[in-house]
Symmetry: C2
Subunit: 78 residues, 2 copies
């Protein structure tokens, strides 16, 4: 299971801005925007069922993301 | 375009370990493993063509990920 956490679009992202600002001096052109977030890969004990999904959603919304300033997305992978 | 950067599987991930270790005291059970990485959302100027993809791949392999200890994955989104 994958959880991606990003700052909400209206929140300034200084990490992404720093990367974007560094690109010209590194010779990379044609990039319009960069935003950085966090990526978590989570393995559960046993089956990935509705119950496990609920637990991961709770975990993402409380421990992994700060819901005041961040959005998260869940994705099944592998 | 999305770039996900993760520590290689053989590299110890202290952030993921810290999250996993904190779960029991937060009342979350049934999680076997957590690994944390970075997630980047990149917009390009103009069309997302082969050339733009090549630029993003170079960027990911040099600036966003440290190829000695990290793997990265590219994914088209949206």
């Amino acid at each position: 299971m994958v959880v991606d956490v990003m700052l909400k679009p209206e929140i300034l992202d200084p990490q992404g801005q720093a990367i974007l600002g560094a690109l010209p001096s590194l010779g990379v052109s044609g990039i319009a925007a960069v935003r950085q977030g966090k990526h978590f890969e989570i393995d559960v004990d046993g089956e990935m069922d509705e119950d496990a999904l609920g637990r991961i959603r709770d975990l993402a919304g409380t421990l992994l993301a700060n819901p005041v300033i961040e959005d998260f997305a869940l994705r099944v992978e592998g």
